[in-house]
Amino acid sequence: MKRSMPIAVCIAASLVAPAFAHHSFAMFDNQKDVTLEGTIKEFQWTNPHTWIQVMVKDAAGKEVEWSIEGGSPNSLSRNGWKRTSLKPGDKVVLVTHPLKDGSAGGSLVTVSVDGKPIGNPRR
């Protein structure tokens, strides 16, 4: 079955392609992009995955904490990221492949602070 993917998703998907891949990213809906606007609560610059804890207002205006899973700091730091790339309080726009089960979580596609995307998309 042929499916054409938007270029941005292709590039971004390769940004978070499971590199060491100690597990697959099967729990996420890799065909779907969800855009979140919120405030960084915490950025965990850790192995085996970095995690972005971001507070997002849901439709009812209630704040929900999303857990966004990113690549290893080892590969991110070789793609323009630093442990200080995101700080608590940063206002961000995040694109994520959401968890298939509907929980407030997903894998990182792209994140921008003040309109500037973090990291370099891979070739």
């Binding site: 610059w45 700091p73 730091s77 442990r83």
Partner: protein
């Protein structure tokens, strides 16, 4: 001087490449290019190689002479913990006595520096001109020590093992480490460390088969003064040995390991 050496090296490489080509015209272009590049790189590295050949040989396999997993200050002095340090160590020891130890090693976190040198061993030291590498059997720990000189760090990511830099001071190998996350214990008694800690080690051969590691710890968060411990290691015979990686993760499984293949019929 470097420029002259590189020129000489380049000429040598060119000559070698040409003579090799003349000798064996069946040599492919790929092989010739690779050999020429290797020769040029070897010429460039020659001074470093010569320097390392003149050094004591600390490479090989080692095990601790004293199998204690605790650090003691040299000359029987008390470890100069300050009030905060004493409090934290006491708290940890209370937890241990209550069966509620929070030693990070219990959840397979790495011992860090210099606690890695308290591992039961054996470990291997690999000495090269550019770098000294240490491989431990216990938890397959690895120290990567580039011989960049004294440590210079700029906003390092906080690491468990810290960031290393080394240099030879005569026949002594100095290794400096900093940039710790501060979460590990210095030893099993719960000696504390903080992200401010700096560790300076000096490795030297007391005799060809005995290695000493003099460790100075400086951490104003928990210690009122720098203090020094000393560990010694004996060389294991033979350099053609095998290290087995011990996988701590197997002790933390919630779901058991299974062989994927059906049993042999």
């Amino acid at each position: 001087m470097n420029h002259l050496i590189r020129c000489a090296g380049g000429l040598l490489a060119m000559t070698l490449a040409l003579s090799v080509h003349a000798q064996n015209s069946a040599l492919t272009t790929r092989e010739a290019e690779i050999r020429a590049a290797e020769a040029a790189a070897a010429a460039e590295a020659a001074p470093k190689v010569a320097a390392d050949k003149a050094r004591p040989r600390i490479g090989g396999f080692w095990e601790p002479i004293d199998r204690a997993d605790t650090l003691r200050a040299v000359n029987g002095k008390a470890i100069p913990l300050n009030a905060a340090g004493k409090r934290l160590q006491r708290q940890r020891q209370q937890q241990i006595r209550a069966g509620k130890s929070e030693d990070p090693m219990k959840v397979c976190l790495p011992p860090g520096t210099p606690r890695d040198m308290l591992s039961p061993g054996p470990f291997m030291i690999i000495q090269t001109p550019a770098k000294v590498t240490m491989l431990h059997e216990d938890r397959h720990l690895i120290r990567h020590v580039y011989l960049d000189g004294p440590l210079q760090l700029e906003d390092p990511d906080p690491w468990w093992e810290g960031h290393f830099s080394g240099y030879w001071d005569g026949s002594v190998l100095a290794i400096e480490t900093a940039g710790f996350n501060g979460e590990q214990w210095l030893d099993s008694t719960g000696l504390p460390q903080s992200p401010k800690m700096k560790v300076s080690e000096r490795f030297s051969l007391i005799d060809p088969n005995t290695l000493e590691d003099v460790i100075t710890i400086e951490d104003p968060e928990f210690y009122s003064a720098p203090w020094t411990a000393r560990l010694t290691f004996r060389r294991l015979p033979g350099e053609d040995r095998h290290l087995v990686q011990h996988e701590c993760g197997e002790t933390l499984l919630e779901y058991p390991l299974k062989e994927y293949a059906p049993p042999r019929s």
